[in-house]
């Protein structure tokens, strides 16, 4: 033991630092030079992986945006629409798509409004990649009318319901101590539901993203990073003490940020769906989302119930929580990207997790006298509040399912 310590103390630090790197370089060189893996696979053709990110429907035209997520370049040789070979034009015109490169495929086709179309790409090795246009409707173009309508939808889904929920704030203030605890517990219930819902949505979309982008781990870790960052921000000196109005305002703000990021994702969903057309369906769903979001306003208000934040602050919080729905609808309506959606949902999930953590701490600090600690906080008021929160979210979520 002593001898080992003696040896390592004699070797300079930079040598210890560089030796593993040099050895790694050597092993890398050996591995590439003798390529043992290739000996296993022989001359087996490469595994091709092409994903259609999105399809635009224009006047008698499909425009496919595709990405090559495979190890090797892929060449698109032919295109089928509904089991028929169809003429097409491609950028790049060679049909060759390098690793992680994207391409556009233009297929002049008189598509049938409201019906399903099956698109199939055939590569030069005969491998096929399929994509279904679920409902053929013209893709909205970003003109003034669409910007405006999408913004109105975002305001109606986000800002208005959150604001309406916050209008119950005076009622919250009149609640007795146990009633307030109940409302905080209810907020946790609402948020836990949103958290699970956001992660599930993210996972669902991640499944459609090209494997090479590792969307599922991205979802988890971007969420954890956003959680960590927001906790760190909340630990600043000014707001550290949750027993001050500033501390409680910070929690309310944090809730608003988390809900805002969540609403950005919801806005993207609404934008993408509204753009498909189906006005009646869109209206119904927008109403469902709006009702769902009123409860979020209650959640923002609950931590501050013993304070007097003033109308301006409450309006500001409503804007933070509801406003992101507007850019969300624009983004979803004009330029939907599954990877971007995963990223936003992930950040939103992290923010919601942080809020659950903060409100939970607040709830613990307000426990009945003599009942301290995490286990003791499971009384009828708290458990009932969380349960009711979950039930409310579940019930209003039924409206949009």
């Amino acid at each position: 033991m002593d001898e080992g310590t003696g040896l390592s103390s004699r070797v300079p630090g930079w040598v210890i630092g560089i030796v593993p790197l040099l050895l790694f370089g050597l092993f890398t060189w050996l591995f590439i030079a003798y390529s043992p893996i290739e000996r296993l696979s022989g001359n087996v053709p490469p595994i091709e992986d092409v994903t259609v990110n999105r399809v635009e429907l224009k006047d008698r035209l499909f425009v496919l945006h595709v990405v090559n997520g495979g190890q090797d370049p892929v060449t698109i040789a032919q295109v089928q629409v509904d089991e028929a070979y169809w003429n097409f034009r491609m950028e790049p015109s060679s049909g060759r798509i390098g690793r992680l490169e994207t391409a556009k495929i233009y297929i002049p086709y008189h598509w049938v409004t409201g019906e399903v179309h099956e698109l199939r790409l055939v590569t030069n090795t005969g491998v096929t990649f399929d994509h279904t246009v679920e409902v053929a409707l013209p893709t909205p173009q970003p003109d003034a009318l669409h910007w405006l309508i999408f913004a109105l939808v975002g305001i109606f889904v986000g800002v208005i319901p959150v604001g309406l929920g916050l209008m119950w704030f005076p009622l919250l203030q009149r609640l007795p101590r146990s009633g307030l605890r109940f409302m905080l517990a209810l907020t946790i219930g609402l948020l836990i539901f949103l958290l699970v819902d956001t992660v599930a949505e993210g996972m669902e979309i991640a499944g459609g993203v090209s494997d090479v982008f590792h969307a599922a781990p991205l979802l988890i870790f971007a969420g954890l990073v956003s959680f960590g960052l927001l906790v760190a921000v909340g630990n600043r000196k000014k707001t550290r003490d949750r027993n001050t109005p500033e501390g409680r305002l910070w929690i309310a703000t944090a809730i608003a940020i988390g809900i805002g990021l969540h609403n950005l994702g919801e806005g993207m969903a609404i934008g993408a769906a509204t753009a498909i057309g189906e006005v009646a369906l869109g209206t119904f769903l927008v109403l469902g989302f709006a009702l769902h979001n009123i409860t979020e306003g209650v959640g923002i208000g609950a931590p501050m119930a013993s304070d007097r934040p003033g109308i301006a602050k409450l309006a500001w919080l409503a804007l933070i929580a509801g406003g992101p729905a507007v850019p969300g609808v624009w983004l979803g309506g004009f330029s939907y990207s599954p990877l971007l959606a995963v990223l936003f949902l992930s950040i939103g999930a992290g923010a919601i997790l942080q809020v659950v953590y903060e409100v939970g701490k607040l709830l613990l600090s307000r426990a009945e006298k003599g009942a301290a600690g995490f286990g003791a906080s499971f009384d009828w008021v708290n458990v009932g509040g969380v349960t009711l929160g979950l039930v409310i979210m579940y019930a209003t979520a039924l409206l949009v399912a």
Binding site: N53, R54, V55, E56, L57, K58, R60, L61, V63, H65, T75, A77, Q78, V79, Q80, E83, A84, Y85, W86, N87, F88, R89, Y106, P108, Y109, H110, N124, T125, G126, V127, T128, V133, E134, V135, T139, Q141, P142, A200, E201, E204, I205, G208, E266, M268, A269, I270, G271, A272, A273, A275, I276, E278, L281, G332, G333, F334, S335, Y336, V400, A401
Partner: protein, 365 residues
Amino acid sequence: MSSKLSRRAWLRAGAALGLVGAAGSTRLIGRTPVSPVDHDQSGGHGNLGTVGSVDHERNGFDPHEVLTDFDYGRVSTLPNGQTLREYTFVARDAEIEIAPGVFFPAWTYNGRVPGPTIRCVEGDKIRIAFSNAGSHPHTIHFHGIHGASMDGIAGVGAGEIHPGKSTVYEFDAVPFGCHLYHCHSNPLKRHIHKGLYGAFIVDPDPAKYSGEQRQMAEARNHMYPACQEIRETVMVMNGFDTNFDGDNEVYAANTVAFAYMDRMIPVERKQRQRLYLVNITEFDPINSFHLHANFFSYYDHGTTLEPTLPTVDTIMQCQGQRGILEFSFDGFEPGPYMFHAHQSEFAELGWMGFFDVKADAEGLA
């Protein structure tokens, strides 16, 4: 769907239907082969068909040549007076282009798909020296009358011929008709659909008939002038499962998708047409042939001198079925006359073409 759309389905639909910001340039160019299928002269519908062209030279065979390249074999006469036709068949792996830019790892007889069209006369002695230069065991199984040991199946006679090995198949060509041969190694489905098949045509012997029947037999026998006046072609209906999912991505007659659409088959309108049609399509129980704006006489299996279906414009064939079609465009308006499988799916995946009927003075290109 309507109200059942969940938020997740929404997001999926959003991803599927996708939406874009700045609209890019949307010129609808596309390399469109000049073909009469363009229903809309403005091109607004876009065009059916593949983009680009197949390099037949690299493939080693051209579907237009396959139409008429009957292989009569090396002909000699045996001491007993019987005609002997000798052939050499070599099974080889080859990558073939079955649609522009789409390559298929085929197994072939003599480097082509379909294999050589064997043409002989009823009663001829057929001798085929077969060697396997491929990577899997293969056989040649002929549809015809012969002994069990010459049946070209696994476990009987020479059985499966392994790579580097060879055998000789020998039998008398009976009965007359439009037949086929194919590999009968197991698994059968894979060995057939990889490309090991071809047409085997046995002409009737006029010496066996008299009167009107003799004339009919002469018109079917390639050694007689009455037959030589007729334009004879061969089409082997086939399909290719390029992604090996048990469903064909390409359908064709003589292998290359839309080969007779991108370049039509020239036809002299006064000349009588005889088409030897063979169906060796895998995975789909039947294939079919439909001729536009005309009717034909059909001889199922080609084993009769009288048509089995006198006036039809559509026939169907199960896997391995075949027959002879006879028709004429005599007196027709010159122009393109379409033919295709009447399964629209097969047609639009490549099994579609045109006879380009020329006025008498135009002659053939």
